[in-house]
Symmetry: C2
Subunit: 345 residues, 2 copies
């Protein structure tokens, strides 16, 4: 069943337009602030009545909600996360819910602080982007506040989940490279050191998807995984190791675009050219991949659409805490660009 979008609420921008006054003037009237003349007040109140405007504060008072959706984001720089936030914000635009992003910093303690701070401020719902908490911790959060988990392969009755099919995404890259004629295809993974996370993190699933796809193409003997990190430095150091191999791989598949940026740097430093000497591919189809001088083959996991789904599912759960949980798994697509070509003869 496809639930309909919540009706769009009248906002103060509508009231301002209708009353032909500024948004600031409307806001002043709403707050009974100094400087709103009686004539202005009358004009604004009339517009509110005509449009059926119900101010947030009043709505809060009536329904005990804060009309706030918190988004825990582990890295404010990651352009793929910006896609998710953008999709979420667009989905909630026109509702009374305000999206507020809490930037954490790639470690569980920090994530927990941000999540706690959001719960503490009585947010109505949380979106957790690739959280690194244990399943038990996620369960505890979801028991306190309606929650959607994005980008991590976990599911439980208490929350909804939106993921990309990372196994299929890794297979798309391997298949593309095999079709171009590559056999020595190496992979740079973000290694997971916390046992409780190994089964569910996208990075581990991409590495597993790579191994599986290599096997499926009869290339088990060429499986070569570098345990590194999804950072520029991680990609750079991983590529340095791979470029020292004899024979050298003819293609490097980094599990994230940001790591592929480091791979490109190591390749250039070694005096090799992409794609003539070596093909390079990433994952995320971030803005980096699309830049002209980079033109990186990558996997599009539709971050924007993931954000749309997360917003929709979260509002449904805010409306009904006891609804059955949903797991949405999106199908990634290949974005082939100039960084991949046939291997050198």
């Amino acid at each position: 069943m496809e639930p309909s979008a919540p009706p769009r609420r009248v906002t103060i921008v509508d009231v301002a337009k209708h009353a032909k006054v500024s948004v600031t003037a409307v806001s002043k009237v709403l707050r009974n602030a100094y400087g709103a003349s009686p004539a202005m007040q009358a004009k604004v109140r009339e517009a509110m009545a005509e449009l059926g405007y119900r101010p947030h504060a009043a709505a809060r008072g009536l329904r005990g909600q804060t009309y706030t959706i918190g988004v825990m984001v582990p890295d404010i720089y990651n352009p793929f996360f910006a896609d998710i936030i953008s999709g979420l914000t667009k989905q909630l635009h026109g509702t009374d819910y305000q999206v507020l992003v809490g930037p954490a910093r790639h470690d569980y303690d920090n994530e927990a602080l941000v999540t706690e701070a959001m719960i503490d401020r009585s947010m109505d719902g949380l979106v957790l982007i690739v959280p690194t908490s244990t399943p038990a911790q996620l369960q505890a959060t979801a028991a306190t506040v309606p929650t959607v988990v994005v980008g991590r392969h976990v599911c439980a009755a208490a929350y909804d989940t939106v993921v990309d099919n990372d196994t299929a995404g890794a297979a798309l890259i391997v298949e593309h490279l095999v079709e171009l004629g590559h056999r020595r295809i190496a992979h740079i993974e973000h290694v997971e050191r916390t046992p409780a996370l190994i089964a569910s993190m996208p990075n581990t699933i991409r590495a597993r998807g790579y191994r599986q796809a290599m096997q499926d193409h009869g290339l088990a003997a060429h499986i070569d995984v570098i345990a590194s990190r999804y950072t520029r430095e991680g990609g750079y150091l991983g590529a340095q190791q791979l470029l020292a191999r004899r024979p050298r791989p003819t293609a490097i598949f980094a599990g994230a675009d940001i790591a592929a940026m480091g791979v490109l740097e190591a390749v250039a430093e070694a005096g090799l050219s992409v794609p003539d000497d070596i093909s390079v591919a990433g994952y995320d189809n971030s803005v980096y991949a699309t830049l002209g001088p980079i033109s990186l083959t990558s996997v599009d996991q539709s971050g924007h659409q993931m954000g749309n789904h997360a917003g929709r599912l979260l509002l449904e759960r805010v409306a009904d805490r006891h609804r059955p949980s949903t797991l949405i798994s999106l199908s990634p697509t290949l974005a082939a660009r100039r960084s991949t070509a046939a291997p050198p003869a």
Copy 2:
């Protein structure tokens, strides 16, 4: 599994009982008030840790604060804004304040909605990143809630301001190109259509700085400004116009790195190479500029440091609404890379 009721919150009464001290003593420790001895502080903090007490809620009750700092960001994708947010978050780390980012979308109506939503949720202070509201609107916001404006050259008694010296930044690029031997240096600006903004927006000030620097170097006859936008498409279209000029400029200075990305695409499409045929420079020293295959000469305006200052000033203003306002103007530095070189002979 049915979600259980939220667990009962630990209160300061529980903490007082556990620490075997008075509720007043706990409250003193929470407020960092005079009269709480180090021994008392240790005892209370220990009890809080043991009980998993979260001081926010109680502090809110006691002092009418939400311990929340709202950041209005006009573009969640802009990596320079991520620098500012990162600097701000780091500055507030370890305090009781939580940074919450409200993504707006490059237009005043949307900014106003986000700002209003933050005021409406009783945030203790706001950071507005390059807001496009009129000075009167900024004044009205600052009269309601402690405010710091970042990246826009406005100042008023009611709020604090952190800016980069954009005039100096533009001069750095012109000077660098002149030293390399360029004379036909063109500029791509983000044109400002709202008269109230022309005097204070960084884009207009960079364009003015470019004109001034060209004059200072005796190159007034070569001033060439394309009215465009700080987007990839804006840079691409602007560069197309410039590349059709006869004689062609030997260097293009785009007022933002993101526009320079479009310039690089137009140059490549025209079959020209950077920097052999044409030099390209940007502004912001964003992550794009630093990527190996791009290696863009740019202006570093220390977004991280801007965020640090914004956080510090805002906490000072939250503590004292009536303190005199401060304007901090940071000095940019040149980040010279491979995209600029001597012009073709």
